[in-house]
Symmetry: C2
Subunit: 409 residues, 2 copies
């Protein structure tokens, strides 16, 4: 008989926490971090590309000149100087932002949490893409919304679907989208869809939450306008330096109109008082120089080659009846397999063969995604990517053969 450890607090948890349990996938990921496993799972930036001596120089200058500020508490909104730098990063994507309308957060993930905290009452509807960024689903879920899922295609969110839902009487509190190089789908919202979405939401008085972590990691094609640049009053914009500098500094931000912003700042202070003055000063100085452009340029080159390596390997090793997206930037390729595959069930076998991916189910709140997987090309080398895709392709071929023999095909 199995022995059970009774949790003495079992009847004390808040309703929002009753569903908080670790998934099986989680346990597999800790195995997948072994060096002999090619991980195409986690979405880690390739921070090894950062010149350490440059970062060290920045850090030393902060401590030598500003130790009393770096090691102290700061204001909840983040310093004006850093907010100016982050507004400057937005200007790189032709998006204007007043540093007064910006709050610095612990990565963009905290901005997602604060947006949920400030806007979602239990039972409220939140419109998200299908599939949607899993971190946004976790952050929002704490506030107990009902998710309205809007499908994606190669041009991003299918805005007609959202429009139909509104006509049916759905009334989302906000629409959450990752328009550029979508996580997990790898697709980018077309210009026509952007204009359509912005017009629809403005008309319906539904704010848009635009999450743009990968916008500056474009490999090819022309940049498209951010949603915020199309309608600053109705778009809450989320940014982060995690992908263009380092996730280790935990610096992200939100830009919103004054009423929302004030509440985001107060919610931020209630959540953790303030961010790290130390890493915020480091970030401010890093983007104060010009070397960050060179570092970012090199990073984009690296990611482009890795994306190419992944697409080439997929062509070579994956079943002919599988399909996948062709991202023009960012970190991810989204694969759709034939119906008889089950990506959550297959993960253990993949890890046995020393390759890991993220099953599609995590990206849908409604249990879909069993034929999908997210593959990340940002972290492993081209050789490792090719080898990982080869291993996965072999597994899929073996599974396919097994399926055909069992079904008598």
């Amino acid at each position: 008989m199995a022995e059970f450890n009774v949790d003495p607090y079992a009847d004390l948890y808040a309703r929002r926490a009753s569903g908080m349990t670790a998934s099986e996938v989680r346990a597999l990921f800790s195995v997948a971090s072994r060096p002999d496993v090619v991980s195409l799972a986690g979405g880690m930036p390739y921070v090894q590309a950062l010149p350490t001596e440059h970062v060290l120089e920045v850090v030393e200058s902060v401590l030598v000149e500003r130790a009393d500020v770096a090691l102290q508490y700061g204001g909840g909104q983040g310093s004006p100087a850093l907010r100016e730098r982050l507004a400057m990063l937005m200007a790189e994507e032709d998006t204007s932002a007043d540093p007064e309308d910006l709050v610095v957060t612990t990565g963009a993930q905290q901005a997602l949490d604060l947006v949920g905290k400030v806007l979602i009452d239990p039972g409220d509807v939140v419109a998200v893409e299908a599939p949607a960024y899993v971190g946004a689903l976790s952050a929002f879920s704490v506030y107990e919304p009902r998710f309205l899922q809007v499908d994606l295609d190669d041009d991003g969110m299918i805005v007609e679907q959202l429009e139909e839902a509104l006509l049916r009487g759905e009334r989302p509190k906000f629409v959450y989208t990752v328009p550029n190089f979508h996580n997990p789908a790898g697709v980018t919202m077309s210009r026509a869809r952007r204009e359509q979405l912005v017009a629809l939401c403005r008309e319906a008085r539904i704010p848009i939450v635009e999450d743009n972590p990968y916008g500056m990691l474009r490999f090819d094609g022309e940049p498209l306008p951010t949603l915020r640049s199309l309608d600053r009053q109705n778009v809450i914009y989320l940014g982060t330096v995690s992908k263009v500098f380092s996730p280790g500094v935990r610096v992200g931000w939100a830009v919103a109109e004054p009423g929302v912003l004030q509440r985001l700042v107060l919610a931020k202070e209630a959540a953790d008082l303030c961010g790290s003055q130390f890493t915020m000063l480091v970030t401010e100085r890093y983007f104060g120089g010009e070397l960050w452009r060179r570092n970012l340029g090199a990073l984009v080159q690296t990611y482009r080659s890795r994306r190419d390596a992944m697409l080439t390997a997929l062509e070579e090793h994956f079943p002919s009846d599988a399909s996948w997206t062709k991202p023009s930037g960012g970190f991810f390729v989204w694969v759709t397999l034939p119906d008889y595959f089950d990506t959550p069930a297959l993960l253990a076998a993949a890890v046995d063969r020393k390759v890991a991916y993220v099953p599609g189910t995590g990206f849908y709140p409604d249990g879909r995604g069993r034929q999908q997987m997210r593959l990340c090309f940002s972290y492993p080398t081209e050789e490792r990517i090719a080898e990982g895709i080869r291993r996965l392709g072999e597994l899929l071929a073996d599974e396919e053969e097994l399926f055909r023999s069992l079904s008598g095909a």
Copy 2:
């Protein structure tokens, strides 16, 4: 006619955010940060006492040896090595903790937010001291509890009051307390009260949340056992390095039994994915050496002298019918004035006279505290403290005179 800026989102906020508005006190504090104002308000540690060259050495070694880890994402719980160091800090206060039962948070403030998130449903009762740490009130308030306030005296929380409330049928989800060198009250819970509280809560199956930021800053008297050391199963322990090292690294933690801990970790990941690997590595190394003990010893000496300077100045300059606590550690003195004073109303006049304090009202959810003020001695020099208290004393004397002339006394 005044012009109003209409907030277009006014009807979209979550119920929990409707009350989030900036206070008038807040506006005054930005004035109070001018260098000519002696601020006895904010609870800032005196980080200038940290030897910068020592911190620089630690930071350099982290970047030179571990840049790829420092600049990357990490796990939500914090690294095992850091968790071991933090457990070691608890051992300094004779409190054992398994690093497996510990989650690293963005300061102890985030631990408060996560505890609220995991345990409080709207309408739940949370027992807090009266007065209570304002940051805990803000963190918990987001989850819409009703506060049950239990008065303090010089021996800390009056546990009999809590017992009577339970007999009346109150059923708090948890009891929140700062037993050592209370913020804002400056008092320390006696050994007898600790034993009484732990026994009462164990019997009633009500978990205790023990917040201990100042425990290692004792100036005189014998250390008392932490509540966690008296009942590890029923006490959720919160710690921070903000007061013994630096708030700029934003490293705090919570220790809890496995069921609660797992939910705290999942809530942490939903809130911000993970802390800064960089500042966590810096903290791990800082406490890995032995110099931190010397730095802390020097800091305790400094704070002791500043406490003495404040108590001496209060005796000299404050009205004879005012009373105040005599802290044996920590940062704060809590002053109670005669009934005709109104500390929130008086703050603007104090700032005019170039001295600032925190009015007592912020520390009570029920509007009490108009005769109280919190004075912080950790940051200004002894001379500045004496001068600040002199300015405040003058203001109080003038107010008293005005009151007596108006009331014909």
